[in-house]
Each structure stands twice: as structure tokens, then as C-alpha cells.
Symmetry: D2
Subunit: 363 residues, 4 copies
């Protein structure tokens, strides 16, 4: 497959370029009879839109979704649900100087090496804008999961090198997450982080960070050993996001330094080092994982880059090193806007596994 | 799908339980005309077998593979390649006491919650023994990749809380990796780590660690955006391994704390923070990633565990807390034996993407 | 999967209901660098539109496609190609009387039995209108196949019980096919068939027929044994069309009555009883097959039908037999309009196999 | 995919060559908790073995299956079920003269054109012997379907140009099918057909025929519109069998000549022209279809064939026409032995759809 379809039973097809006519998704395999309104999707897309604040791009898209098929009298039909969002605020000429250069930290060279052709406007399909397809599809998945009382919450747990409050600490405030533009679970920490981001932006620089995700109410038994394990699918889902460089479940990398007697969750120690997953199957405990995002590669600071010789169709750089100034509109850090995307991808994984589990046993 | 098939064009089907008659794999989609001998597979399987040493299980299997189909006069036919390895050294009765208990840190409860039935002997299909299927298939993938001059090397980079020499440091010795049972790239470090493992085993405990992997010679252009990205597939492949709790590419989690100007690889700074992958596509630089393994959950120390009430078919534990002593034969740490498995899974991902890339462009 | 995705590498996703906002397709896996214009798609969609004549529905849709993604400066990007056609001429109220009745020969009852919900307007997704998604996608596949000099031609070879001229007979005129509304390869035969159809329509009845298809220039070697054989895929493609009840390749059902010595194609007898396929792989000879279409089930004649009791959500008919008069706009026979659809599905199968063949051998 | 995997949830992987070490299958996705014994599989394999009689090959294989994995204490585990049958009665040297010739009506040339390499011994993987993999897997599917009270019965309905008794006629005797070696539902007809086959064999010739299949007890709602329709899947399944040249459902090709008012099944006319499938979904009526088999291409009569020039790796025939005498052991007609294979493939399709249907609706 060419890589734009996700899932086994609850399948999502994503399409669209950043500066093309439209982006969207088709969901094939959503069960029939699910109540679904445009507002269910709009609500999640609004969460993904650039925040009013210093950390985000100034591109302003309404991102109003249209449901093209699959819903009849307020319920899903069991047929494909196609959702489309038009691009309206494209400033494609901002990118003219990128036609013949490969931006550092971006996919430009790789895409051209792969396909021999590239839409340089706004990153084309490698743009973060593609994630709206996932958020739209994830909104439908969330509706399905609500029937199972599964709840997914993500937040920014580290930003610009600063650690944010952790679950269990007195500063950690669940209700604060959606109250600040950086989606940090603590007001004081959010203010501190905002200052750090402002300082970086003023320098023409950008920040990375970590998004943590918690899935509650997941019944035991989800995950398809051995290659379709719950954690394998979540890892695949998260690493399919543009700027993600790592993922860890439960105790994660720290578990590598523990003894077995320390790391094993037992009925008496009340830990959840496994992050709710054993043998690739949900255990009934909370699912927890962290996702590392690199800093936004588009920075205002001048950088060296490799230029492309005209007419080289094979994507080979010609080795010419040029001075690059990136214009266009970019987020100073990705994690806050990635929070609903991480939730959406988690929802897609769980919705798929919930359906697959229906076939696990004879009745 | 039920999760035992991996890959899009170079597909691998894994089968077998730890104490069943046999394990093996079927490869569907290996190109025709590839030279392949049993010894190509045996060689890799020997690397996966328990080492002569303190760190490994005492189970002794010859693991001699038999090629059942797909090879004719020393070459692949283009038809499915079935490879089988018989189980011969099963001590199934060692596990009788596990029939009605869920071991801490193991998949026992989860599998039973999923399927309502479980093969308790040696972990059944959740056993690490299943990885021999992957190593056998990976041996075939490596043969294919050799045609493309792609080389994959993994090693133990952290063990029992100790950091091992890193590439670039004077202590790092590539040639040492396969010379010590812990697969550590440095003799002194290997000896130190062996002592730490011996100490843990003497305590009845176990250790975790990190395996690092390097793929060299990977051409630019491999990876299928947006859901089949190279890193997404590698992440899925690694998290499909039993004790893995995390993965990071290039600078990984550390990148989350860097500035964009620090993290971007440019033509002048000579870094490889991206780990050879941008936008989910190989860049032509070395592919690098780290995989975190938790400590072996089977430990000799007495533990508390949850018992299963007789006759409860739904896998629900009855809440009774019991004292558990685990017998059977187990590795004191997983990373050294996981090294060839990490390589095999990497080979499977790359073999698949090499074939998929053939369809990326009009000719 | 839920059944709306076709193909392995050249994947097509179809979406849309007959009276919903839009129908369309997403192609994932079209190679990059293929020249593609909207007119390439429009041209094929015009062939699928109702003809000016007695045999077709009076629904009038412009069916102007919009390419939403995947094409940049006249060439495919390698990214998903989304194509959308809006529904504009819906007379949904024509179907109000069908909300609580299951039409004979239609999918009404079956869809409701499956999903527990049904869009009764124009057949919803079971409408023949869905085939425009296939024709749009097939137009792209045809562009790809043109690079390989593969040509696909279908025609009406039987209609209303009348046999039309066969290839090789003096009456068979290839150039006539697209010159008459019934797509019959012979003017006299076309006029005769038109009269037969007119007579049936006057009676309030409908006709079935056979579409024959010829693929020329197909290189030997296409088809994936054993389950993805060329004929197996074509059969699946054709039986996925609404009114199709059978398919036969080469000598087809007649071969069942021949002796081996009569049926075998040899280098001296110059026959093509195999229809260009042996062992599920193309032989290099012309691919030939016939597809049987049942008569249009929507007829003006009064019929008995089963009514649905209000509030029965499970789709079970309540056994009440009612008198049904079908309004709405319908074709008096399907084969002529199905000709471009059969070609499109053939193109999708061949495009997929052409790409898959690239992975069949080591290079 | 390379074509050796069938199904979406109940997946079957087939492997093995006619004269290789073994053939077999792996089933991934069989629900856990199904009772399964070796005898369930042996029984079906015995039905596929050559009959004691003039119509069949003299190759004698015990075809005793071994279950390698997936079953524990008499029940399926939910893990892959691997089944293997060893080849024991290979007379590979019988085929030495076929190494450099392409037999008429066989896949020899096509396979070599595809892969550039071919196992000429007994047809390699294009042998009818591959169908034992399907029968073994189908036996498991039948066990699952028995839980749903679905019964599948196939028989020889035409042979050597002779029509056999049809359902509803007084000569049709369901209980006779498995009582005669030709699997004809009527004793007198069976005797007549046997004489015809004997006469053909005496001439050094072979016969074709038709297998009819009936599936009873199939609940309404099975089939995945639009590309995974029940009839599309059955067509794909049947055309994946070696000698099949056509399939028709219900009234089939005859429906193409009927009027809509004649063909529509209504609550008063009691017909089943649809063959139990409307819109690609089961209706609850009996599923009925016919499958056309060409005559066995291996005949004793001398034939002309194309020879292969030594060393031509690309499979291109060199145009040299040679005289061919086929030795080896072959069936004089395929349908009687194909009966259990048709049943098996039908069972695989239905088992898959039964599981997929579990995901069709919200609960």
C-alpha cells in the first residue's frame, strides 16, 4: 500500500496537500447506527486550529468540515464516511523560494528522492496541516469509543526543555489542560513555558517537547498479538506524525534501568509500569505513554541549506550550499497543537481494536 | 487481521507456541530468483539461541530450520517460503503451577481476558521463543537487502542501568559486538555488565537494557507517507517485541529539549539528529534508533500474584492474592538475545519498503 | 475491511450515496509523475452518463469531477488523488414510498438486514450511481496503462435475449461500439436491439444482457497466484458490480463441455480458449471475458413486495405483502451504461497487477 | 501482496509445491475456543484424495495432516493454526522432460514469464495438489460455520458434456453425491458419466464439467459492499482454482436473457433467481452458484507444444514447436475431486464474512 490508509476494520484514508484545493478523510468500516453530527467533527477540528497566541502559526483557516457521505438522518449508514475541509487561506507564493531548495529538518529532499516530484507549497502533503484529516477521523472514533466509556486525554508534559507537572503531583491539574494555549496541566507551569517559547520565537528559534497521553476505561483484551499489538499500533500511529522522534509506554526508557522486582506490577505494589499493556494487550489499567516531538524545523534564523540544480528530476541535491531564510507561517512549538492529534490517533487505534476484538472468540 | 502477518509486499506470517509441536514462518512476497540456502537461516537462528553463560535460559534447542517450500535448486521461486523449527526441549510440566495464576509483568491475564483460553506452558505464544520466527524470516530479508548493499547492525547499548560505549567514543568497538555473550561493543564494558547481571541473577532478580540499531547503505526514498512511514513501521516492528517499552530515532527524546537551530541537521553541522529519517522517508544518512527493553519479568524471587478461580472462562481474576515462585528457564536479561531479533525486524521493514519503492514512480 | 477499498498497490476507495451530497474516490498508490488532467476523468464520466435515448434513466447529472488532491502542475505527486462529484439532480421525494418497503430484485432488505439502517433514496449506496467512483478511478488507471500500451475495450454482446455480432464475424464492427447508445458492435444489430428495448419499456418491463471485454497488449506475467490470480481479481471486480450474475473467461462455460484435446490452446491451433490467462497469469494473448447482467429490477409494472413493519430495527420483514409501483428514474437495461464501468474495473485490476509485477523478481 | 493469503479476518495462508517437502496452510484469525481435532481436517482431506477409479490420478498420498500450532487441549487458542502435509509419493523424474517445454493449457510459460524461474516437477505450485491447503483450512472454517448452522454442499452437475440431474428433478438425489466417485447426485447419471469418462481416457483425452454449490442456513446480511460483496468474494475464491473458467450465481447467464418481471424474485413467485444474494449481501435464501471447469489439460494424446531454448532466463519461448507426450499421473476430469475444494473455498468466504459482520453495527 502507498501508506495513506490506517486501520484494519475501522479504516481511515487521509488525503490532501497543504495548499491544494482540500484535505479530508474517508472512514471505511465505521459501524452503522452511530449518532454523528458535523459539530462532533468541528469541535475537534477547532481544538487543532492555531491558538490565539505567540506559539502558533498565523495561518487562519476556518476548517469547517463537510460530511459528503455515510451519514443519513443523523446516524452512520455503515457506508464510507467522507469528510472534506477546503483550504482557503493559502499564501502559496510565500513558498516560491523553496521550489529549488531542501529545508533543513524537513522532508523536502526525501520526498523528492522518493517521488521525483514535490509540491513545495507549504510542505505539500508533508505539512502538519495533514493532521486535520486524522483529527476529523478521530472525532468519529471518539464517538464510537464513548459507547464503550473509553476516554482519551493528552497534554503537554515537557516543552522547551522544561518539565511540566506530572500526574500525582499537587501541581497537576487535569481541568487546566484545555484552559491554556499550551495545553499544560498547571497554570503556573503554563505561564513559565509561554515565556520560554516567547523568548525562543524572539530569537527566531523554536522548541520541542513531549506530549503525554492517558486512555481510561479501556477494557482488558484489546490488541492483536504478535504484530498488531496495542503498543505496536500506538507506536506506529504516533511515529506517523511529522515531528515525532520517540515513544515510550508506562515506565518506558526508565524501565530499562530497573530490576525485574522493581518493574513488575503486582497486586500489592499498585504500580502501572506497564502502562496498561502486557504482551501487547490491554490489561484494564490506564494506558499511558509519552511522545517526543522535535523542535519545529522551520525557524526564522538564517540557516545553511542544500540547493537543487534545475532540472534534476531524481531529487539528488547538487551539493550547492545556500543561505536560507524561511518565510511562511509556522508554529514555534508543535506539542500544544499536537495534543488533539495524539488523542485522535489513539482513538483510531482503539476503535479499530474494539471492533477486531469482536472476532476474537467463538460466540 | 488477527495480527500474525507483517508487511505489505514482503509479508511474513509467524506461527507457533513455545511448547507446541513447532514454530515457523511463511514468507509471501519474496522476489523470485534470490539465492537461499538453509544455512542462511541457520546462521541467524544460532545467533538467537541462548548463549553459553549466566545471562541466558538453560533451555537447549537445536533450532534447526527446515525449508518446506518456495526454494528450488537453491533459488527462491516467488512462491511462499515456509520455514519450520520443531520444539524438542520442552519441559512443560515446569509450568503446571502457572495454569491458574497470572504472573506479574507477563501477558497471562491479558491473553486470557482476550481469548478466554490460554496455553500456560512456557508462555504459549507470548513466549520470547516466538521471535525465532522473525529471525528466520529476517534472514531471508537480509539476503535480499544484501543485493542493495544495505547492512544492519544492532548491539546492547545499556544494561542493568549501565551505559555502554557509544559510537564515536574510543571505547566503542564494532568488531567486539559478536565476541561477547552480552553483545556489548567494548570488552571492558562487557565484563563489567556481566558482573552486574551475575549479581542480579544471584539475587533472583533480572535486568533491563537498551538495544541500539544502525542501518547503513539505505538509499534515500524509503518509507510510505503518511501512515507507512519508515519510522512508523520500525516503531511498530520493535514494539511488537515482547518486552519493549519504547523506541527513539536519532536524537530521540533528547530532541524534545533542543532548539530548532540545534536540532536541524544542515549541510554544515554534519549531525544526524534525524536518525536518517525525515518526513518518514530515509534521507540516505545512517538510520539509527534505540529500543528500550524492560527487565525480564520472570524472576526467581518470590512475588505476589493474582490467582484464577477455577472455571472462570472469562479471564477475570478472582482477586485472590497468592505467593508465586516461578520455575522454568529464563534469561536474566533480554537485550543480548534481542540483538538479532531487532536486526531481523529491521530487515523485514526495509525489505518491504525496498519492494514498495519500486511502485513509487511511473517508469 | 468494510469493503470499499479495491486493490493492493493501486488502491481505490469509493464513497458516496446516490442522493447524498457527493460521490467520489480516493486513489492511494498511483505512481508519481503521471500526467493527469481533469479532462481525462471527465471524458470517461461522460461515457457513463445516461445516453440520450429510450434505454436510460432521465436523471440528468453533469457529473463534473473535481480533483481535490494528489496532482500538482499537471502531474501526479504520488500522494492520494481524491476526486469528487457532487449530486445535483436528486429527486429524493420520488422515493418516499420506498422507506418501508423492500423492492423485489433490489438490495433493500439485505442492506437493512446487515446494517439495521438504510438510505432508501435512490438505493443509497447500492445505486448504480456508485459506479461513477469506479469510472473516475479507472480513468486514472487507464492513463497509467497507456504507458504500457495496454488497451481495454468492452461492448454489449447480448441484450434482451438477442445475440449481437461476435468478434470475427463480418457484422462485428469495432468502430461502431461508441457510435450507438447501446454500445453494440454493429449498426443493424443495434437498431434491432433498440426496438426490443423500446418494446420492453413500453410494457413497463426491462432487459438483461451480456458485456464482453477485450484487453489487448497485456504483457505475459500479470497475476498473483494463488489467490490473487488475474482471473480471480477480474471476477471479483466484475461481481462487485450491482447487477452482475456471472462471468466467464475465454471459452468459459462452453469449455466445460469440450475435450482436453479440443480446449487446449497449442502453437498450431491458434485458438484462445484460455482467454489469455493460464494458471491465473496473463499469457500475452488477448484477455477476453463475458459478464452477465440481470435485467434492471426497477420496473414500471406493478409488483408484489414485502413491507416493513414500522419500528422493526433489525430489518426483518414482517411478511406483509403489498402492491408496489416503482417511480424514480431507471435504465431499461444496464449493459450499455455498464460498458465503461467494466472497462474501468478491468483497468483497475491491470494497473494494480502491473505495479505488483515490479516486485516479482530480484533485480 | 503476493497472492497466497486469502480473507480479511479469517485469513488463510497457503504454501507448498507439488513435489517439494510439504504443503500446508496457516490460519490467522480463527476465533479462540473452537473445538478442533486432527480428524476434522483428515476427514476433508480424504474426500479430496484421488478416488478408486478410472477418473483419477494414480498418485497415492496419505495426506495425513499435522497441526503444528494454535490448538491446545482440543480447542483453538486464537493464535495461528499451522497445518502441514508432507509429500511422500513424488515421482519427480516423470517430469524431467518438462523442464524445457511449456505444456499446452498449463501455466508453465506464464509462471516462467512472471518469475523467470519455475519448478517443473508436477506443475510446482500451479499443481492441483495445492488445493489440499484450501481443503485443510476449509475444514476449520466448516467447524466454525457449524456453530451458525450453515451447511455447504457441492456436486458435479455436468461432466463430459452431459447434464446431470438438477435440484427439484425426480432423479436428483442428495444422498447419492458422496456415494459415487464422480460425486453426481443420481446413480444412473453417475454410471452414464463414468462410461463417458472411461471412453475419453481410453482415447487419451479428458473431460470438463460443472460443479454446483449450495449453501444453506446462511443468515441475511453477509457480504461487504461494494468491493467485498458476497458474490464478488465467492467469484474470486472459485476463479482462484486452477481449471475454473467461469462462475454464475442463481439464474446466472440465463438471467441476461430474462425480462425484469421474470427475473425478480417476489414474495409470491417463490423463485430464487438471485441465488440468495442481492446487492452483494446474503438474503437469507439458499446461496446457489455454478462453477465451470475446463477439461484437464494434461492428456495422453500427443500434442504440439512450444519448447524453451536453454538458458533463456526471461521465460520467452523460442518459437520452436515440438512434439509432446505427457507422462505423470493425472485426473481424467477435475470436477469430482474439485467438489470438496469448492466447498472449502465457500466455507472460507462465509467464515470470513460471519466474523466481519460482527463489526457491522454499533452494539
Amino acid at each position: 500500500m502507498a501508506g495513506n490508509i490506517f486501520g484494519e476494520l475501522f479504516k481511515v484514508v487521509s488525503f490532501g496537500e497543504s495548499h491544494g484545493p482540500a484535505l479530508g478523510c474517508v472512514i471505511d468500516g465505521c459501524p452503522a447506527g452511530l449518532e454523528l453530527a458535523v459539530e462532533d467533527i468541528s469541535r475537534e477540528l477547532r481544538r487543532r486550529r492555531p491558538a490565539q497566541g505567540v506559539a502558533s502559526t498565523s495561518r487562519r483557516e476556518d476548517d469547517e468540515p463537510e460530511i459528503l457521505s455515510g451519514v443519513f438522518e443523523g446516524k452512520t449508514l455503515g457506508t464510507p464516511i467522507a469528510i472534506m475541509v477546503r483550504n482557503t487561506d493559502c499564501h502559496s507564493t510565500d513558498y516560491d523560494n523553496l521550489r529549488n531548495v531542501y529545508r533543513p529538518g524537513h522532508a523536502d529532499f526525501c520526498w523528492e528522492a522518493k517521488y521525483g516530484i514535490r509540491d513545495h507549497r507549504g510542505g505539500g502533503r508533508s505539512s502538519g496541516r495533514e493532521t486535520l484529516c486524522r483529527v476529523a477521523a478521530g472525532a468519529v472514533a471518539k464517538k464510537l469509543l464513548a459507547n464503550y466509556s473509553i476516554r482519551i486525554t493528552a497534554w503537554t508534559s515537557a516543552l522547551a526543555g522544561l518539565e511540566m507537572p506530572r500526574p500525582g503531583s499537587p501541581e497537576f491539574d487535569f481541568d487546566e489542560i484545555e484552559q491554556n494555549p499550551l495545553r499544560i496541566p498547571g497554570r503556573a507551569a503554563a505561564e513559565q513555558a509561554l515565556k520560554a517559547i516567547e523568548a525562543l520565537r524572539a530569537e527566531g528559534d523554536s522548541a520541542g517537547g513531549i506530549v503525554s497521553c492517558l486512555a481510561q476505561g479501556v477494557p482488558p483484551g484489546l490488541g492483536e498479538p504478535v504484530f498488531g499489538k496495542l503498543d505496536a499500533r500506538l507506536a506506529s500511529a504516533m511515529l506517523s506524525l511529522g515531528a515525532v522522534k520517540g515513544i515510550e509506554f508506562g515506565a518506558g526508557f526508565a524501565a530499562a534501568g530497573l530490576k525485574g522486582s522493581e518493574n513488575n506490577d503486582t497486586p500489592v505494589n499498585k504500580t502501572n509500569n506497564a502502562g496498561g499493556i502486557l504482551g501487547g494487550i490491554s490489561s484494564g489499567q490506564d494506558i499511558t505513554f509519552n511522545v517526543a516531538f522535535k523542535p519545529t524545523p522551520s525557524i526564522a534564523k538564517p540557516q545553511k541549506a542544500i540547493g537543487k540544480a534545475d532540472g534534476k528530476a531524481d531529487g539528488t541535491a547538487n551539493g550547492e550550499i545556500i543561505d536560507l531564510i524561511i518565510s511562511g507561517r509556522h508554529d514555534a512549538c508543535i506539542p500544544p497543537r499536537a495534543v488533539p492529534v495524539v488523542e485522535a490517533m489513539t482513538a483510531l487505534v482503539l476503535a479499530d481494536l474494539v471492533l477486531l476484538q469482536r472476532a476474537a472468540r467463538v460466540l
